[in-house]
């Protein structure tokens, strides 16, 4: 097996990160732009005039395209992972992107992106590949193994889809770790916090609560609960809906017909939300297509009233998790806050009340950067698996399955075989038989969830047990073993006992992508040729340099250029010439450094360009016109603009 670095990856709804253990502490690996956060945004560049397959860009440059060419960009794809057609249809009401037309029920949904179509795991694979490349550039060596985090409340299909994405990106996913548990690992590294801790994780799109017992290096999850449909996105949508309604009511303009303008308005909503965490009021201020201005002040008190129903939805999972763990709020020693949305004062107030913190003279833990803590924890788990660090040597994570596993019994009821909050790996053995003479197939419907009727639970899979030796009805005794592994993924095996020979029964799940499909979706197999690795890094770096240089070369034609000071223009020219020079050579490090320097020099220019793009989009110019203003979208994973939609 290839030894080498095992990285920890936080594959987030909004942003993704990669981290590793540097000696005895976890560290986030920055991208080429120096930023620790890679926006989980994937854009398909238009096919160039010379033809060929369009290229895919990830991160900030893709996010920039969101306003200009929203139909070529996908974000928040995590919300679509492992979901079936119906669920995705519901989900897409909130997104500008569209499903590919001819998808049949039971198939993995595909998203139409420009002229191509992708499954959600493929989109995630592009994000993962970018993180992998960032890590490889950082180490100067290939990275083939990773730990990836998932929301604790992810079901089996969502977990499998995440693992598939890893494989497509050329990563051997050694373990899936639950995000709140990862955060606990990052906080628990110093062993200062022994006892019972609760991790409250409100991210961009998901909410998780986990209760753990920390003792002597063992992190034992007692219970977990959550909502895979609750997060900062919901708050943004509330603000956005109000603005859209008011614009329609007061100015008679329906912005919903302008996807680019909606994205720009969404950005103002997010800005307002972020400001309201520190200020008592925030302004919405947008120019409308008809020349009017939409101006509105949102006082924090109004904002809090507005989001109260969203925040309240986190209370029930917290109470259920405490009940399942058999503990009262007063027995929780520490509370850890994770996820950008926990910066909202109203969220902190709710947490304080739920766990009676200030009443007990306690404060929640926020010492570690809430955007990075999950990735740091993933790196700790990577360290545990690699067995390479003394610090992690005697650490062990014992996690649980978030949802009960059951099989559909007669009359559509659910026979529960593994209870939620069971420590994984967990197993159960059940026996089945046939109902008809000579029957050689038995179908088992496996569901996940807490409801009484199978129809109300998430259908996980219908397993076909094939190759049962023909016997009289009721005579075969088929032993089926259900095992939830340490990743929270179900494995099913079966054998027939009556016929004497331990006949191996083929078990075929009927959901998700097949092994073969995943194999065909593996991104550029070139990634695996390790002998060419340093050559490949150099080629990639040169390609990135070319893309940046070409964009910078066109910069003076952009109206934003004239807004720069003379000094700024000179600084850009100097940084550009430096990159042109080192690009000729084969010093990878020098090329990377020159790219970072040029990126810094063009930072202000990128911001100016961005502002112009947004106001054009708002004014309702056509996509092409707006495109002229901002020039062509940048290729390559380069971030001309800083992370805007934080």
């Amino acid at each position: 097996m290839a030894e080498g670095h095992v990285v920890g990856i936080d594959l987030g709804t909004t942003n993704s990160l990669v981290a590793y253990m540097e000696g005895d502490r976890p560290v986030v690996i920055p991208g080429v732009d120096g930023s620790n956060l890679l926006p989980s945004v994937v854009a398909l560049d238009p096919v160039s005039a010379s033809g060929g397959r369009p290229t895919v860009t990830v991160g900030n440059s893709a996010r920039k395209a969101l306003i200009e060419t929203p139909e070529r960009v996908i974000y928040s794809v995590k919300r679509l992972m492992g979901r079936d057609l119906e669920e995705v249809r519901t989900e897409l009401k909130f997104f500008p992107f569209r499903l590919a037309g001819d998808i049949e029920v039971g198939e993995v949904p595909r998203i139409q992106l420009g002229e191509l179509r992708f499954t959600p795991p493929e989109i995630s694979a592009y994000v993962l590949r970018q993180l992998k490349r960032n890590a490889e550039r950082f180490f100067g060596a290939p990275v083939a193994q990773a730990v990836i985090t998932v929301p604790a409340y992810f079901n089996d299909a969502q977990r499998q889809a995440t693992k598939d994405a890893g494989r497509m990106a050329g990563l051997d996913v050694l373990r899936l770790v639950n995000e709140p548990t990862a955060a606990a690992l990052a906080y628990g590294l110093d062993r200062a916090n022994e006892g019972t801790i609760a991790v409250y994780d409100l991210g961009g799109g998901t909410f998780d609560i986990s209760i753990l017992k920390l003792h002597d290096g063992i992190f034992e999850v007692q219970s977990t609960n959550g909502d895979t449909h609750l997060g900062g996105d919901d708050i943004d949508n509330l603000l956005l809906a109000i603005a859209l309604d008011e614009i329609l009511g007061e100015h008679g303009v329906d912005l919903r017909a302008h996807p680019g303008a909606v994205q720009a308005l969404r950005k103002s909503a997010i800005d307002a939300k972020i400001r309201l965490s520190t200020e008592l009021a925030a302004q919405f201020d947008s120019e409308l297509p008809n020349g009017d201005r939409y101006q509105r002040e949102i006082p924090r008190a109004v904002f809090e009233l507005l989001i109260e129903p969203v925040l309240k939805r986190t209370a029930a999972p917290c109470k259920q998790a405490m009940a399942d763990a058999g503990i009262a709020p007063d027995q929780i020693d520490e509370v850890v806050l994770v996820g950008g949305s926990t910066r909202i004062p109203a969220v902190r107030a709710l947490v304080d009340e739920l766990f009676r913190l200030s009443a007990r003279g306690k404060k929640p833990h926020t010492e570690l950067n809430s955007d990075e803590v999950v990735a740091l924890g993933a790196a700790v788990q990577a360290g545990i698996l690699a067995g390479a660090s003394k610090t992690t040597d005697d650490m062990l994570l014992l996690d649980v399955t978030p949802l009960s596993l059951g099989i559909e019994a007669l009359g559509g009821t659910v026979a529960r075989i593994i209870q939620r909050n069971s420590t994984v790996p967990a197993s159960a053995t059940e026996h089945f038989t046939t109902g008809v003479d000579g029957q050689t197939n038995v179908a088992i419907h496996v569901v996940q969830g807490e409801r009484e009727l199978a129809a109300d639970c998430r259908s996980l899979a219908r397993f076909d047990l094939k190759g049962i030796p023909p016997m009289a009805a009721g005579l075969p005794r088929i032993e089926v073993r259900f095992l939830i592994d340490a990743d929270g993924i179900l494995q099913v095996s079966a054998r027939e006992q009556r016929s004497g020979k331990a006949a191996q029964i083929e078990v075929k799940p009927t959901y998700g992508l097949t092994d073969e499909q995943v194999g065909n979706m593996i991104l550029d197999s070139f990634d695996h040729a390790e002998e060419d690795f340093s050559k490949r890094l150099l080629i990639e770096a040169r390609n990135e340099a070319d893309a940046i240089l070409s964009a910078v070369g066109r910069a003076p034609q952009n109206p934003a250029w004239n807004e720069l000071s003379a000094e700024e223009q000179v600084a850009i020219a100097v940084a550009r010439d430096r990159l042109v020079l080192v690009r000729q050579g084969s010093d990878l490090r020098a090329i990377s450094q020159a790219m970072v320097a040029l990126d810094k020099a063009t930072h202000h220019f990128a911001e100016l360009m961005m502002d112009r793009a947004i106001s054009s989009a708002i004014r309702g110019k056509t996509m092409n016109e707006a495109g002229k203003d901002v020039d062509e979208p940048l290729t390559a994973p380069h971030a001309m603009a800083p992370a805007e939609f934080k």
């Binding site: 034992e220 259920q320 698996l385 529960r416 069971s422 790996p425 967990a426 159960a428």
Partner: protein, 237 residues
């Protein structure tokens, strides 16, 4: 279905070939992980079947074994060892989950001894699993009258709820009933513990009587907790 392996047949270690007792998860000689054993939960912890367990010691042993068996420790191991680690850890977790809970432990031991018991779901919010519904016994004879009264009140409560008006006297009476039945659950638990002591200390002559008593107590307890659950549900407590 499961049988305690009294005199386990020695099995040779796959790695060092030294024979060891089947129920160990590691070779005593070379410490290598072994394929899953009989699957009997008490023996996973090196214990004789017992109803009174030292839960602190059980947890310590669970942690000690987890450190050695968990798949996290085998990422660089052979494919076989990975599979055994997964299966052994699943067995360890299943065993710990069953033995640390007094009711599940009692049910498990009774089943080991060949008694017919319905399984109760330890998590109160869960509805009884399908398997039990057919098996659930009728109303315990000495509760007949109270249960009849309670069901009448529950029915009345449901009716008034759909009418949109709630009778405070009825609610008060249901609260009292709930407290009473909760008290009966506590009594059952204490009776169960008495039987534990008898079973643990007893011999082959005494144990069957204790087992029968425990089966009856578990039935009664299941019945009572379902009642308490129904009342709690309708009161919205």
């Amino acid at each position: 279905m499961l049988k305690v392996v009294e005199n386990a047949v020695p099995v040779a270690c796959w790695s060092c070939s030294v024979a060891h007792n089947e129920s160990t998860l590691f070779c005593p000689d070379c410490s290598k992980i072994q394929p899953p054993s009989s699957g009997e939960y008490f023996s996973v912890f090196g214990l004789e079947p017992r109803l009174n367990l030292d839960l602190v010691a059980l947890e310590q042993e669970f942690h000690r074994l987890s450190r050695r068996l968990h798949p996290d420790r085998f990422t660089r191991a052979s494919e076989n060892e990975k599979q055994w680690s997964l299966a052994d850890t699943a067995l360890l977790n299943d065993a710990y989950r069953t033995l640390k809970d007094p009711l599940r432990r009692t049910e498990y031991l009774l089943k080991l001894e060949g008694a017919e018991v319905g399984t109760s779901d330890a998590i109160p919010s869960d509805t009884a699993s399908v398997k039990n519904q057919g098996k659930s016994s009728g109303v315990p004879a000495n509760l007949l009258e109270e249960v009849f009264d309670l069901n009448m009140q529950l029915e009345e409560m449901r009716r008034s709820k759909t009418m949109g008006q709630e009778d405070p006297a009825l609610i008060e009476s249901l609260r009292k009933d709930k407290a009473k039945f909760e008290g009966l659950v506590v009594t059952v638990d204490s009776d169960l513990r008495t039987q534990w002591v008898i079973w643990d200390a007893g011999d082959a002559a005494v144990r069957p009587t204790a087992q029968r008593a425990m089966v009856a107590l578990l039935d009664r307890r299941r019945y009572l907790s379902n009642l308490v659950r129904d009342v709690t549900e309708i009161l919205g407590d």
